[in-house]
């Protein structure tokens, strides 16, 4: 196709998409974002409008533009499609969709066509030469944009608009990826590691101040924090040591019961109150002890067998908790767990800091941040030591690791115990956050969700575990109007993700290599790594 023809496609597509995005999408009133009115990009139309900006990629010559423009066009199609489905659903048929949506769809289609007409090209390598100050500024700006986006997104109440938003964010991420932006940012964050850690911490601390005293999302994020600590613990077991644990939530439950029983709850069986500083270590320690008890006989098993045994342990824990009335109060659980009192602070009270009133849950949120920081420290430092290297070696080739002098049983036990310890600590806090503990919180499904969070986010990385657990908590909250179909949608999203990005959202570099690279030709040596064990009697 000639350059002029391509130009016509790009300009025509952009104009159609822009005009369509500020025109009515609904033929009936009442759809969120005043979609029946034209003249402004209300509701999800804004996302389609913003994606039209990607048309610039069709005009300038930069690396990666073909795939980026293609992604932007397809993303716009998806945004329009999501709203189209909602419009058809609520407007009683195709008649519910107004001309603006059709025009925008045509525009998006033209952009896709324009992208396909662009010549194929190698992947982008963004290496701008900028001073270190600008690099740090770019990183901080990126984190601030992240915070702003999260705060803004949490205020979106309509499910269709939130799904549109997710599609938009995913599209922008894919566009940025193809333009080489993420590769550059990750290189930058490697170089300015300390700054990134501090800035991330600052952003995390800043979050409650953006909620104007509203407790809802702070509470959700406190839960995410609990979940993320557990996910990082599971990441040690699954992501580093490569042991599939399908009953991991039981360790979390052990911690939660310890936390609830030792807090002198109103409906409990043990009437003692132990200081929380002790309880958190006790919860972690008891969970770790369970980990060792379960692990010692089972870690000699490999792969699938271990998964089955851990699954069984998870069920045993739940059933025991359900029936041991004398200790756990059976299905009623322990309830009325009081608010924490630690370091002279009543965690249930609202506080005013710097003129901003923070609800009581902010205290738990901050406690979670501290716990999370500790978990991250444990994870990253162990990962980068002889212990972490031995875990990865076990995952890569257990027999070769043993022959290289790694005490595999001991190290697998250690991974199991550390994972359980972190889950137990998280559990003790969770008992206070949820104020009650009952067996139905620790089902097989929860274990699966934890594994999903780790796999979805990216095995063996901290950001992966954080992102995975955040997604697992926020998505169901935001997709409430889909009710029972939530898990269905969630499962579908998981399948799509595993199909197109098997290494997870934020993969470790090593894991990415494992999943993406084809075995190079002429290297038969490592084919034997998964081949017959050397114990075969031929020799």
């Amino acid at each position: 196709m000639t350059g002029r023809g391509r130009l016509a496609l790009v300009v025509g597509g952009a104009v159609a998409l822009v005009v369509g995005s500020v025109s009515p999408w609904a033929t009936f009133a009442g759809f969120p974002g005043k979609m029946s009115l034209g003249g402004f990009p209300g509701g999800a139309r804004l996302f389609a409008l913003l994606l039209a900006a990607a048309a610039v990629l069709g005009l300038v010559d930069i690396a990666g533009r073909r795939r980026a423009l293609l992604a932007a066009g397809l993303g716009a199609v998806a945004v329009i499609g999501v709203n189209g489905v909602a419009l058809v659903d609520q407007g009683g048929g195709v008649g519910g969709v107004a001309w603006g949506a059709w025009l925008a769809l045509a525009g998006a289609g033209l952009l896709v066509a324009a992208a396909r007409a662009l010549p194929a090209e190698p992947a982008a390598e963004l290496r701008p030469r900028v001073p270190a100050v600008a690099e740090v500024a770019a990183l901080c700006a990126g984190l601030l944009i992240l915070l702003g986006t999260v705060v803004w997104a949490l205020r979106i109440n309509e499910s269709s608009r939130f799904v549109s938003f997710l599609v938009f964010v995913a599209t922008v991420a894919v566009v940025a990826h193809h333009l080489g932006l993420f590769a550059w940012l990750s290189e930058l964050s490697d170089r300015h590691r300390r700054t990134v850690v501090l800035a991330s911490a600052a952003v995390a601390v800043a979050f409650p101040f953006t909620q104007q005293g509203n407790a809802y999302w702070i509470r959700v994020f406190a839960s995410i924090g609990v979940f993320a600590v557990a996910a990082i613990g599971l990441n040690v077991v699954v992501g580093l040591a490569g042991l599939l644990d399908l009953g991991y939530v039981a360790f979390f439950g052990v911690g939660a019961y310890v936390g609830a029983l030792l807090a002198n709850a109103s409906l409990t069986t043990v009437h003692v109150h132990v200081p929380f500083v002790l309880v958190i270590f006790l919860g972690g320690g008891i969970a770790a002890a369970f980990g060792l008890v379960i692990g010692a006989p089972t870690l000699r098993l490999r792969g699938d067998y271990l998964a089955i045994v851990t699954l069984g342990f998870g069920e045993i824990f739940r059933i025991t908790a359900n029936n041991w009335d004398g200790l756990t109060r059976g299905p009623n659980g322990i309830s009325g767990v009081p608010d924490l009192h630690a370091a002279g602070v009543n965690f249930g009270e609202a506080h005013t800091v710097l003129g901003v009133s923070l609800p009581g849950f902010a205290n738990y949120y901050f406690l979670e941040l501290v716990l999370l920081a500790a978990a991250i420290l444990v994870f990253t430092r162990l990962n980068d030591s002889r212990i972490g290297r031995a875990w990865v070696a076990i995952r890569e080739d257990e027999l070769a690791a043993a022959a290289s002098g790694v005490d595999t049983i001991r190290l697998k036990l250690l991974a199991f115990a550390i994972g359980a310890f972190l889950a137990g600590c998280a559990g003790t806090v969770n008992a206070h956050v949820t104020t009650q503990v009952s067996p139905d919180s620790y089902t097989f499904l929860e274990s699966i969700l934890l594994v999903a969070a780790v796999v979805l986010g990216g095995m063996g990385t901290v950001p992966g575990a954080l992102l995975g657990s955040a997604a697992l908590f926020v998505l169901p909250e935001k997709l409430r109007s889909f009710q029972d179909k939530r898990l269905l949608l969630f499962g579908a999203a998981l399948i799509l993700l595993m199909r197109f990005r098997p290494e997870g959202l934020v993969p470790s570099r090593r894991r990415q290599r494992e999943l993406r690279e084809e075995a190079p030709e002429g290297l038969p040596g490592l084919a034997g790594a998964t081949g017959a064990p050397p114990g075969s009697p031929v020799g």
Partner: protein, 255 residues
Amino acid sequence: MSTTLLDVRGVTKRYEGLLAVDGVDLGVAEGEILGVIGPNGAGKTTLFNCLTGLEVPTAGEIRFRGSVLGGRPDRFTRAGVARTFQNIRLFPHMSAFENVLVGRHCRTHVGIASAIGRGPKFRREEGESRAKAEELLDFVGLRRSAGAMARNLSYGDQRRLEIARALASEPGLLLLDEPRAGMNAQETRAAAELVRRIRDRGVAVAVIEHDMRFIFGLCDRVAVLVQGRKLVEGTPAEVQADPRVIEAYLGAPTG
């Protein structure tokens, strides 16, 4: 003769319906290169597996530096017997450098508390491990490939990396299972040279190999295994001249 490092007495490995290794006695002296040859299926690799804890012998005793070896493979490595594999078993997605560092595991002692706290002990030990790993990569000629992923190395480099990883555990005896398999003539000469240099570091070496010329040119002593039994043991010249060896390889003369 110098002191005995490895002393194998009557090691037997019996699988259901198959006697893979049958009462083998074997000794390796300090600073020695021992060759183990034999036709396919003679039990060479099974014998090595017994000597490194990958298989538990049905009978017999293995002594290293006077004490009896047993238990899981890492115990053998810790005691000072390291090995490489016939079908190379590296950690494919770790870098060459990391592969060697894993080999340091049993000679380092930092625990979780120290690894998290990053105290002076951690920094010293980690620094020593890294220096040692660099030195070993240099020794086998892989200095420039330190950052490369193990699976992306060439076949010969993978074999050399496996040797570096084994040497990282500071063994007294290194067992090489067919170190020249798949190598051309030039690489084979380099491999023989490397084995000699390992011996010069004070590490005794036992080599399984099919290539007679390689073995007879390299080893101080050669043991011949046939159908799980040790047929002959002696200097290369003695073994080469022994009619039983010729018979085992070529078959008995008829008529």
